[in-house]
Amino acid sequence: MTKKPWISLSGIGLFAVLLLTVAPLVLSDHWLNNLGKYCCWAIAAVGIGLAWGRGGMLVMGQGVFFALGAYAMAMHLTLETAGDRVPGFMVLYDPLAPLPMFWEPFRSAGFTLAAIVLLPVVVAGILGYALFKRRVKGAYFAILTQALAVALATLISSTIRETGGDTGLSDFKYFFGFVLNDPANRLMVYLIVAALLIVCLLVVWQFYRSRFGELLIATRDAEERVRFLGYDPANVKLVAFVVSALMASIGGAMFVPIVGIITPAEIGAAASILMIAGVALGGRASLFGPALGAIAVGWGQSSLGSTWPDGWTYILGLLFIVVILFLPNGLSSLPARFMRRARPKPPEPPAPAIAAVELEEVRS
């Protein structure tokens, strides 16, 4: 869609400069760490933008993939902190039992990094293949993914010895050999997150300007029509879904050293929906909208949530209602709206779903 690639690209460049150089210079440690946390959500949000905004798949269970990355990372950091011992929380329930089998490989940094990338790809691959080939879509897809997130959160809560349960994993001392308490190292972790966010933006930028990006929009707007051009829409959607899962996993993985704790509360229904809030606010189909929206929602939670906690919940609720009702393409569609008002343009194209619906009617 991007007609002038350099505009988006210099936008990403500007964003990179802001995140990587300006922010560390201007912000206090506390706010820089908060920004790091928002960046983790932003990374997941960029993926949601790809899957939902461009692909039309309302992913309401990104918590699942966020969890895969986060728990992989947290298990590694827990083992790094525990050294040769079995992590403390496991001891009480069975003092003599060894480390659960699936924890063992996470001692290895290499395995952990590979798991953060491969686990979501494999899980999303299988799940997406099964769902898209069976043409599960729309609200079904949304609720099924959310049900999975709830199921996973419940499962983790109930397996205390294996996963730390509801209390989650926390109190990490080291991050791949670096002492996490050291401010210099915290800055490094922040910079990694910020850099990863930029990389994700570059990835989706390339996706959006590629033929795949066009095909994805085509699939979103008229899945059946795409079929008649000789593509299997399931494959198109699968690619976008897997990439978005990967991004959620990366966001989750970096969330752990930044925030210092991961619990099932971060992956269940509420958390998964909150990830969408930012994307809707910023503009689901735009390049920067999801990331900026996620950062804005994170910031709102930190600042407004402090000064006016009850109010923040109402604002969040209203945000869903007002933005989606009146600004379905988010804040990033505002400039274009103003331009349109200044210079009259042809009417809005009809709602995307129509073509597909008409195709599915059986006519004689």
């Binding site: 079904y140 199921a151 869903f320």
Partner: protein, 294 residues
């Protein structure tokens, strides 16, 4: 014997509650393709309505029977307001209604937290529901039977209404083919409003039943919405009998899983069971040819 009877009976009651929660959802989803994520909060409204009725009529023997229609109307009115103010603007974007109603749910939850005592309020069970029925050696709580009877009554009333009243017939016509119904002179606007009123009202009735089983507080609705939707999906859209069978199956599965494993694992297994089932039959148990969005 107990190992079979208890889960079977309790599971049926659990299924009946799920059915009550899912009935309204099935109606609004089947009719309009709208997923109302605030449905759980409408359920909560029904439960609080029951509490308020008990403040007026203190004899619980009488208050619960009175609370049922009151909860239906109160929750229904909330649904009507939601339809008129928000949902009707969004019929062309069914998927987006899902997110909008998430926002509505958040607001209703927070409002309930601030209006009512945060710990929740008591809703007293009628005395005539004290006691148990002995079935093959198992002392089955009467309240469980009540849930089943209530669900049965709601299903019967709903299907009679759909079948024998002109409104009901128009609803069915709209479910089958909205455009055709419109061209045949049915005001789909009125039908939509009415459907939403009835669907939300049923959530209110479910809320009264839920208030007799668990706590009545701002968080109570959240636990029902996803299971209820899974039931609707597994049953097949716009299919009353599908919803009934699916709710019963999920309830009994939950009870048996809970019997064999733990309460947590039962939840996980039941969810996974439904998801796998939808893999095998994405259209649900029973299918009807409609212009649905899925």
């Amino acid at each position: 014997m107990d190992a079979l009877i208890a889960p079977l009976l309790n599971g049926s009651a659990q299924g009946a509650l799920l059915l009550l929660a899912a009935l309204g959802l099935s109606l609004t989803f089947g009719q309009m393709g709208v997923i109302n994520m605030a449905h759980g909060e409408f359920l909560m409204i029904g439960a609080f309505a029951a509490y308020l009725v008990q403040q007026v009529i203190t004899a619980s023997n009488l208050s619960i029977p009175v609370a049922l229609p009151v909860a239906f109307v109160v929750a229904g009115l909330f649904g009507l307001v939601l339809e008129v103010t928000i949902i009707r603007r969004m019929y062309r974007r069914p998927l987006d209604t899902l997110l909008v109603t998430v926002g509505v749910g958040l607001i209703l939850q927070q409002a309930a937290l601030q209006i009512f005592p945060s710990q929740g309020v008591p809703v007293e069970k009628p005395r005539w529901l004290d006691g148990q029925l002995t079935v093959l050696g198992y002392n089955w709580p009467l309240r469980q039977l009540f849930t089943i009877l209530l669900a049965t009554a709601c299903v019967a009333a709903l299907s009679a209404w759909l079948k024998y009243t002109s409104f009901g017939r128009r609803i069915r016509a709209t479910v089958h083919n909205r455009d055709l119904a419109e061209t045949s002179g049915i005001s789909t606007r009125t039908i939509d409003r009415l459907t939403f009123f009835v669907g939300s009202g049923l959530a209110g009735v479910a809320g009264v039943a839920a208030s007799l089983i668990g706590g009545t507080n701002s968080q109570m609705g959240a636990q029902y919405i996803i299971p209820a939707f899974l039931v609707v999906a597994a049953g097949g859209i716009g299919q009353l009998k599908g919803t009934i069978v699916a709710a019963w199956a999920v309830g009994v599965a939950l009870a048996f899983f809970a019997y064999w494993t733990t309460g947590s694992l039962a939840q996980v297994l039941a969810f996974i069971l439904v998801i796998v089932f939808l893999q095998v039959r994405p259209q649900g148990l029973f299918t009807v040819r409609t212009r649905s969005l899925a």
